[in-house]
């Protein structure tokens, strides 16, 4: 069978697509740090871990940070570097979503985009809002 060059290019493109997609981690399994190391790193950060799982080849932690705020963090399984961190409560997010309060961009933390700009108490963490 003779393969048309444009068809071959299309198949190659489709095969390459998953490699380019998303925030996936691609560390080989033998280089992964054990779960204990993740828990130790979380303890050093002052986090309370509620759930530790593996998602898209990365470690994913849900819990509360040293200030007691809910968060979700994605860690590189090889270096344990924080690749992504989202603040906020999942249930609270769902309620906001149901109420139609979708923030611009779709990747907002609940602290962002709520419109107010009240000065924080001394020692508080920064606050951002988009107008």
């Amino acid at each position: 069978m003779k393969t048309h060059p444009s068809l071959a290019a299309l198949f190659l493109g489709l095969a390459a697509a998953p490699v380019l997609a998303g925030d996936d981690c691609d560390a080989p399994v033998q280089d992964w740090q054990p779960r204990d190391a993740v828990m130790q790193m979380a303890a050093q950060q002052g986090w309370q871990v509620q759930r530790l799982k593996i998602d898209d080849g990365c470690y994913e932690i849900r819990g509360r940070d040293a200030q007691g705020r809910a968060f979700k963090a994605r860690l590189d399984p090889q270096t344990l570097r924080i690749m992504k961190m989202k603040m906020g409560d999942r249930d609270h997010d769902r309620e906001r979503y149901r109420a139609g309060e979708r923030t611009q961009g779709g990747d907002a933390s609940p602290r962002s985009g709520d419109g107010d700009a009240a000065p924080p108490a001394p020692g508080a963490t920064p606050h951002g809002s988009i107008e």
Binding site: M85, A108, P119, G123
Partner: protein, 158 residues
């Protein structure tokens, strides 16, 4: 109220008040141009008098894979494992204003520190340190224009 209790309360107030006076809220407003592209990723951070990284104030845009495009901030802050803790939000659409409120120690003001903003937009040119404004009382309230994506920038000390 008993005397020991009053003494304790007075001592607590005396210790707490100077601590509160050592920092002040700073509001940073950044309005974007209508540049004709997707939402911008912005990193708002502080550098010291030597140009070394001091602190991240806000990162607008949630996907870590794009942070390399905020090249100045990404390079300078790479040693800070807590650089993203509690300071991330959505990317900022064109024409919109990002308002960041942070608590800064008095010692940082008029001490050579700079507020810097790196900006990046998908499929458009990266703009590291598009804003570089000294954190001084004299600069407070004055608008500054950016080079590419930022129409105006100003900060207020409270």
């Amino acid at each position: 109220m008993s005397r020991p209790l009053m003494t304790t309360v007075a001592a607590a107030c005396a210790l707490a008040l100077p601590a509160a006076a050592h920092s002040r809220p700073v509001t940073i407003a950044t309005t974007l141009e209508n540049y004709g592209g997707d939402g911008a990723y912005l990193a708002v951070y502080l550098t010291d008098a030597q140009g070394a990284y001091a602190r991240t104030l806000w990162v607008a845009g949630g996907k870590a894979k794009y942070y390399t495009h905020l090249s100045g901030w990404n390079r300078l802050s790479s040693g800070d494992s807590k650089r993203l803790q509690g300071v991330t939000g959505a990317s900022v659409g064109q024409g919109r204003t990002l308002r960041v409120t942070a608590d800064l120690a008095d010692a940082l003001i008029d001490a050579g520190y700079e507020i810097r903003i790196d900006a990046a937009v998908e499929d458009m040119r990266d703009s590291p340190a598009e804003i570089r404004v000294p954190l001084s009382a004299a600069n407070a309230g004055k608008p500054h224009a950016g080079r590419q994506y930022i129409q105006s920038f100003s900060f207020e000390l409270q």
